[in-house]
Amino acid sequence: MTAINMRPGPAISARTREALNGYAFVSPWVLGFFIFVIGPMIGLVWLSFHRWDLIGDPRPVGWRNYERLFSDRLFLKSMEVTIVYGLGRVPLGIIVALGTALLLNNRRIQFIGIWRTIYYMPVVLPPVAVSLVWMWIYNPRYGILNSTIQQVLGVPGPRWLDDPALVLPSLMIMAVWVAAGRNMIIYLSGLQGISNELYEASAIDGAGYWRQFFRITLPLLTPVIFFNLITGMIDTFKLFTQAYVMTEGGPRNQSLFFTYYLFQKGFAQYQMGYASAMALVVFIIIMALTLLVFRWSKAWVFYEGELTGGA
């Protein structure tokens, strides 16, 4: 009897207690979500209907910020630059990373750990330092790249970051140099997760390497490629450091990345309201793009669970 009486009151059942514990544990995130996400989100919407230079009081301007947005040539340019860069850099990154992973996923290759370490190294470097180093490499007059071109080919090299047509490809190459190692490891772990039975079975059926690659390897890697696609897209919209340090958006606004333009409007020209409208519109565009890619992924992303479920 005493044992029963010593239990906590019947109102708090084991289940309620479990739920309360759960809420207590997740509460820091809930709190942070309201302070740093929901709050600022509301602030963003509110600000986008105001005009404010941080001095004095914000003045309501109705939809004017939005109207201005669609006639702002530089805003449209920044969207174009960001999208063009993303369309080049994301596929290029996938090809380089997947190619390297395929080379490493081979039993005849030794010291996989060492190769992995070498390729991963650039990932951890500070973007500002990397930007300075690549600026120096790309330097049209004294850079090692053009000096080598001059020496080997006997012709002057292109102007890289100073050439409106080459600035984005130059930045893409640098970005692949930085990130390939990380994505390569993701692909490698994906490749190592593919069971050998699949290859054995198809080898018995007489399938060659490329047939196996397109019928087994690639389909089973589509979830990883999809993951890569989404993160690559978001990273593109976040790109800022290179534009700030290396090109200042130039030449001729050819590297006016969206976040860099947002920074200029907000923190150089203090147009908080206009910058907020800009951020909100792009926010909605990115979310729509993400949903679109998710939708589209159903057509080509292949989950192994479906295989066993269907068979």
Partner: protein, 296 residues
Amino acid sequence: MAINVAVAAPKRKNQTIDKFLPHLSVAAIYALLLLGAVMVFFPFAWTISTSLKTEQQTLAYPPTWVPDPVQWENYPNALTARPFGRYYVNTTIVTVLSVIGQVASSAVVAYGFARFRFPGRGLMFLIVLSTLMIPFHMLIIPRFILFKYLGWLDTFLPLIVPNFFGGAFSIFLLRQYFMTIPLDLDEAAKMDGASALQIFLRITLPLARPALGAVAVFEFVSTWNDFLGPLIYLSSDRNYTVSIGLAAFRNDYFTAWHLFMAASAVAMLAPLVVFFLAQKYFISGVALTGSGGSKG
């Protein structure tokens, strides 16, 4: 068939991986891998080489790889041209506190999602996952205004405090890991009268060291290397981090590439040292992300 399997069984792992890239000889693969490694090392080598040259040598044609004479003074000169020592200390303070906050809070939250059933859990975790895909750069303006009203501008607080509320990626990674820890241990401890918090601290956390390590190293690198945050929130020189100090240093001189490379090499040093010391956490963490991402 039966014979085939029986023969293949002991070394099945190796049997068909051989089928990868059968047309390439081992030598060709090594050559390609080596080429990749050379391309990775090339900017590093050029950085070090330039950082030890005189200014005239950096402008010489054809360029030389070995500096002559070796200009060691570039390092002290670059590091005192701006107070880089101070920047290093600032960055260390911000980074260490951010890592502590991020790891501790994310572990607590992840444990909540992994071990307790409560109404709304599924929805809340879905929100955590979806915030992984939200470009938070879009919120810099209202966040800046929030910190302005809190009086936190030009302090380290805007860079540190948000880390104490858990990060979506860290929560996701830790939750996946906690789910793999068998419940039997929890049950046994519960029998002995341990509270949820005690179980978390004494049983789960020690077993989750690899995942905690991965979260810590990722947070270290992302805070150490952050540029936009410090650029917006910090305004006085004495509060600068290494990254914004380096960008400012570049604007001071414009063409002193030997000094920029020396300062860049030093800026790269801390994350590289951490990487070499904690490699396995980076690699296993990245692998976890990929497989986790592929299921989410």
